[in-house]
Symmetry: C2
Subunit: 161 residues, 2 copies
């Protein structure tokens, strides 16, 4: 997805590490998700569930479901970034869409939709976002409300034809 | 999914390693996919794309798309296994469904559907399965043809309601 207006969140930047790559020096399929998971951690920081916020609220975020589309290979040592669009939110869930890019370039290397659940860790059990967190989640979602639905959101896997 | 008839493939068994877990000792979300990816590697061995087969054919398997449902937590040191159902196959694609279990037990810890593509590595470009491989892929698929569609196959991610 393009981000000419600079609306997307940019929660994670880094480099493709040697230990994430295969014998050809390409990022392994499972390790795209390691990167997207770090982007989700960074997104949690943005809405107040960093380590201090998790301790203060007793809440954390669990991933319920995750869908990845692999589009292009990327090599060890490449500077990369994840951009994030909030697709929706309710009282305890967050529907997010990450895209992986070579840093500062537009082509999408992979797309990852995640459904996240707010969890009261004393259970653990599903719980509404804490009063300190909900307005921040909603503000991020509102900022993305007018954006088009991205290409790989809502996909299901099937053989063609 | 239950496997009373013993029809499902059991391509991978192992243990939840320390380096796959979080500060609570639970398997991290990204590392469920590390395990499912190893199960796919073991499935490739079953139909003749082990290292020797990859060298002989010049082919390998790329993941096009992957969908995970996280159902239960699992702790460091737990013996685990993946069971695999072939959902479908065409000339160059394989639609597979993995479930993760505590070894020798039925509850599904996570489900993972993957669309796999046969690739001629000299491109790399999509290519039909090699003549040595295709009959083996088809034989596995035929063995699973009568099985019911598993619960988390074909899912798409959306907020409820």
């Amino acid at each position: 997805m393009s981000d000419a207006a600079g609306l997307l969140l940019a929660p994670w930047r880094g480099t493709v590490l040697h230990e994430w790559t295969d014998y050809n020096g390409h990022l392994r399929d499972a390790h795209y998700l390691v990167i997207f998971s770090m982007a989700t951690d960074a997104l949690m920081d943005l809405f107040g569930l960093d380590e201090a916020g998790r301790q203060a609220t007793g809440h954390s975020i669990f991933t319920l479901e995750s869908h990845i589309n692999y589009l292009l290979e990327v090599k060890e040592g490449t500077p990369i970034e994840v951009r994030t669009q909030i697709l929706g939110v309710d009282a305890k869930r967050l529907n997010v869409y990450h895209t992986l890019h070579v840093a500062d370039t537009e082509p999408v290397l992979a797309a990852n939709q995640q459904m996240l659940l707010n969890v009261d860790m004393s259970g653990p059990r599903a719980a509404p976002f804490a009063p300190t967190v909900l307005p921040r989640v909603q503000a991020l979602a509102a900022r993305h409300q007018g954006l088009p639905t991205p290409k790989y959101a809502g996909r299901s896997i099937a053989l063609p034809g």
